[in-house]
Symmetry: C2
Subunit: 185 residues, 2 copies
């Protein structure tokens, strides 16, 4: 199979524009203009705009899971709570130029509950929580595994506050809170 640079480039451009303008406010034509891809090509790869949105989300989903896994794998195993490495990852993300909040949270806001896109976004967040849950069970076993809910809440709160304040410090705030809560039980 040949690599598909056009398709990947299209997904990159769409991802950026969706994050900045939102899903409905971003027209197909804008994506095509920015990516220098023709409309016919796009519709050969994706049957509809919704399918493009789903492809963007699925690719990002895999990227995020990969990033979290890598973060946790590289975490200092001698640390008291290696799971907190997640917040260091958030800190880096918040500082990047192309940070415009979480595209999955955005997706739940723009599509109705029963819509495929909404449901995929919810499933994505749930899967992150589950990933944290599993990691705690295996590596920070002295922690109550149910603390995954707490960490998930702190992660999402940090994302929102980082977007609102256009600063990365909520990642540090969240890490400090997490540290306190986790070592308490």
């Amino acid at each position: 199979m040949r690599a598909q640079p056009r398709k990947e480039h299209l997904l990159d451009t769409a991802f950026d524009l969706f994050n900045q303008h939102g899903y409905h406010a971003t027209g197909i034509d804008l994506i095509l203009e920015k990516s220098k891809v023709s409309k016919a090509t796009m519709y050969k790869h994706f049957r509809s705009k919704d399918e493009l949105v789903m492809a963007v989300l699925k690719r990002r989903h895999n990227q995020v899971l990969q990033q979290i896994t890598t973060s946790l794998d590289n975490a200092d195993a001698s640390a008291q709570q290696p799971v907190l490495a997640i917040f260091d990852m958030l800190f880096n993300w918040f500082q990047s130029d192309d940070f415009y909040g979480c595209n999955f949270i955005k997706a739940t806001g723009e599509f109705l509950n029963q819509h495929e896109v909404h449901q995929f976004a919810v499933a994505h967040k749930q899967q992150i929580r589950d990933l944290i849950f599993q990691y705690i069970q295996q590596n920070d076993s002295y922690l109550k595994a149910k603390q995954a809910d707490t960490l998930s809440l702190l992660v999402n709160g940090a994302i929102i506050n980082a977007q609102l304040s256009n600063s990365a410090t909520p990642a540090i705030d969240a890490k400090n809170i997490a540290q306190l809560v986790l070592q308490h039980d």
Copy 2:
């Protein structure tokens, strides 16, 4: 001045639809159909859709500030941290049938940073943080006033997780975390 039931009804309907479908996905025609108001009337009250959006946000902004103020005023002053009453308010909100997440967070996701709507939404969240800050200074003075950032992060995290999980328990989770963090310092 006469009361303006049509205008208020229009704002009510628009608020609900914006919350469920998002701002851009909600067409004027849908709002008019649901509210049984004619298009001419709407455009007499609001010069554009953006102006309607702003009116919805401004009204909601006042409602939220009022709710928080009332919550804090009615908080058990003998409690250790009366500021935690905010999370009880969140709990009730999350349980209501018309809870579809935070319309201000949604607004930041759908409008560019420099857009009036985006900026108003950011200012709204900042003002809530400031309100908490002031309350802590006056009533929970043994707390570090800067903890308003922590509470803000917990509030927003709870809102997101409540929307994602379609449950009210994140309000309780956030309250427990807040209690722990605040009494620690």
